[in-house]
């Protein structure tokens, strides 16, 4: 194992660099298209001279390529620049303060989805067309269709307002405050996992090599546990990357509902305030996370499926 695997990982890592640069560039170009700048909003009457000073200080009058070069240099040295609205704070500080909460929320929700959804899918696939299967698929179809804001609101309505089982309605402090947001965010991905795992397992079970494994007299436990499951997990791993995008989207809503001071909530505030160095910094950050997640997915994929190591030379 591992020359070819190692070579693949290195190739894949090297390839990530231009993608990150391109994403920074795209974000930069997009952000420059936004009309207006934060110092010229009508609500804040600032004398013309101060405005110009501020614009100079933040480099808003430099040509775009200078701004871009400065910005890329900043990102690569982990310096996302100052906030344009909150003048005492840098984007780095904002990230440092808000990001860990979002990361924890997303991570726990993903964990919940995997721990709950994957076994559910496996159980359903082991007994296709049983009541368990129908129940799991009902959950999976409904869970994926109901928007998370309804689930979150109903959670609060029942668990906090009606039954008062000891969960708070908002915040992100002790574990009691984390249960509802994590489950509300993780339910749809769990439903997705369950459905995907069931589908791929049933499909894998039809493969010729499973019949070979049976013809060899292998025990059912080994056939399901090694041959079927290992091959079924490949598409599941591939789907985990895009799921992260979903978690980001979902966290915007969940943080709003549970009043969690995370990155998603801050992002919305920054967009409304036109604090575009913050919007840009956070967009780049989220993009890099998605890119890194896809990187991890691809490497896992190569570990699970030996064919890809060579095919994608």
């Amino acid at each position: 194992m591992s020359g070819s695997l190692l070579a693949y990982v290195v190739r894949r890592l090297v390839w990530t660099i231009p993608v990150v640069l391109l994403v920074i560039f795209l974000t930069f170009v997009l952000m420059r298209q936004i009309e207006g700048n934060p110092f010229r909003t009508s609500e804040r009457a600032v004398p013309e001279s101060i405005q110009r000073n501020l614009e100079r200080k933040y480099g808003l009058n430099d040509p775009w390529y200078v701004q871009y070069a400065m910005y890329t240099k900043g990102v690569l040295t982990f310096d996302l620049g100052p906030s344009l609205v909150l003048r005492q704070r840098t984007v780095n500080e904002i990230v440092k303060e808000h990001f860990p909460r979002s990361l924890e929320l997303g991570g726990l929700a993903f964990l919940f989805a995997a721990v709950f959804g994957i076994p559910l899918g496996i159980l359903a696939a082991l007994r296709p067309n049983s009541w368990l299967d129908y129940g799991a698929m009902f959950f999976s179809n409904v869970g994926f269709a109901v928007p998370s804001f309804l689930i979150a609101t109903l959670f609060i309505y029942y668990f906090v307002v009606q039954w008062d089982v000891g969960f708070p309605t908002s915040g992100w402090t002790n574990w009691e405050s984390k249960v509802l947001p994590v489950v509300a965010l993780g339910l749809a991905p769990a439903a997705y996992f369950a459905r995907l795992v069931r589908g791929t397992m049933l499909e894998t079970a039809q493969q010729d090599y499973i019949r070979t494994a049976q013809a060899k007299g292998l025990r059912r436990r080994r056939i399901v546990g090694l041959h079927v499951l290992r091959n079924s997990l490949i598409p599941v791993v591939t789907a985990a990357g895009p799921l992260l995008g979903y978690l980001i989207t979902g966290s915007f809503v969940i943080e709003e509902i549970f009043a969690i001071p995370g990155i998603g909530r801050y992002y919305v505030t920054a967009v409304t305030a036109r604090d575009y160095s913050v919007v840009m910094g956070l967009t780049v950050l989220l993009s890099v996370i998605v890119i890194l997640a896809n990187l991890v997915v691809d490497i896992l994929y190569a570990v699970l499926d030996p064919r890809t190591r060579e095919a994608r030379a």
Binding site: V19, V271, L282, V290
Partner: protein, 310 residues
């Protein structure tokens, strides 16, 4: 030889020997679609989902016109009523009939859904077909570019696009949501085009000297139709949910206009006393998404029998 009157009209314009095959091709085509149709209507869940989907569409289109209530008229004396005979779904904070308002919101949500899906298909087909059909360095470059776009997370991307347009309305929402989500369709179309390009019949067409645009327009794109029909029902729920999320966090359609997401946001503020105000638009979204998913599954099984489970 006696020529039957019926045959003459059919065989015009071709040597007799080839008439059979020439007439055979389109017949085979239609029977393919007919087979798919029969497979679809045997799938009970998909048929039910399709019917519910159409009922929801009809309700959204027709109800605001025939409803006795004005969906915009504020009347605080009627505010926040629970469902009753007069108002089957109750009334909202401003005393507006929810049954009417939900239909109105559905027009916007589903309208944005379909409009964005069409834009997604147009961009996706153009990008995917060019990339896949031309191939080589161009294909490579276009796909790498797509990889980078995949790095941009969906909702932030849509939010930035909205900020660029500067104005939030039906069309800017459509564009923002479409721009943020055409990548998958482009990839699917590219894959399909590449597969078709390698097919023997396409090679044969090329061998007899058909021009590239003719091959693309006559032979390749029509054969991606099945994939595209499925894509409509996969993208539609994604866009509807995207619109709902945007409106819910306050960056989408804003009152007094209604969309299901905007209605849910309004309802969210009074969930403790009138939970039905957030439940109704959310359930409407869920029903639409669920139906679209089942229709997509049914279509996939019907159009691609190889993947059918026994």
């Amino acid at each position: 030889m006696v020529v039957q009157p019926g045959e003459v009209t059919r065989d015009v314009g071709g040597p007799g020997a080839y008439a059979g095959t020439a007439a055979g091709a389109p017949i085979r085509q239609t029977s393919l679609w007919r087979d798919a149709w029969y497979r679809y209507i045997r799938n009970r869940a998909a048929v039910l989902a399709g019917v519910v989907f159409l009922v929801v569409l009809a309700y959204c289109l027709v109800w605001p016109a025939v409803s006795p209530y004005d969906p915009y008229k504020v009347d605080f004396s009627q505010a926040r009523q629970n469902p009753s005979l007069d108002h089957p779904l109750g009334t909202d904070r401003f005393g507006r009939d929810m049954l009417t308002r939900t239909a109105l919101g559905g027009r916007v949500s589903i309208g944005i859904g379909f409009a964005a899906t069409i834009v997604i298909l147009v961009i996706g087909v153009a990008y995917g077909a060019i990339s896949g059909f031309i191939g080589g360095i161009l294909d490579n470059g276009m796909m790498r570019f797509l990889d980078a776009l995949y790095g941009l997370p969906y909702l932030p991307f849509a939010i930035i696009t909205l900020a660029i347009i500067g104005d939030i309305n039906f069309w800017s929402m459509t564009v923002a949501l479409a721009i943020a989500s055409w990548f998958t369709t482009a990839r699917i179309v590219r894959g399909q085009v590449i597969t078709l390009k390698e097919n023997d019949y396409i090679r044969a067409t090329r061998a007899i000297g058909a021009r590239w645009y003719r091959i693309l327009l006559r032979h390749i794109l029509p054969n991606t139709l099945g994939v595209l029909i499925i894509a409509v029902f996969l993208e539609l729920p994604a866009v509807v949910l995207g619109e709902a999320f945007l409106s819910f966090i306050g960056l989408g359609i804003s009152p007094p206009e209604a969309s299901w997401g905007a209605m849910a946001q309004e309802g969210r503020e009074v969930y403790r006393t009138s939970p039905h105000l957030i439940v109704i638009p959310s359930v409407a979204i869920a029903v639409l998404v669920l139906c679209a998913n089942f229709v997509a599954d049914g279509l996939r099984d019907a159009l691609d029998p190889r993947t059918r489970e026994t």
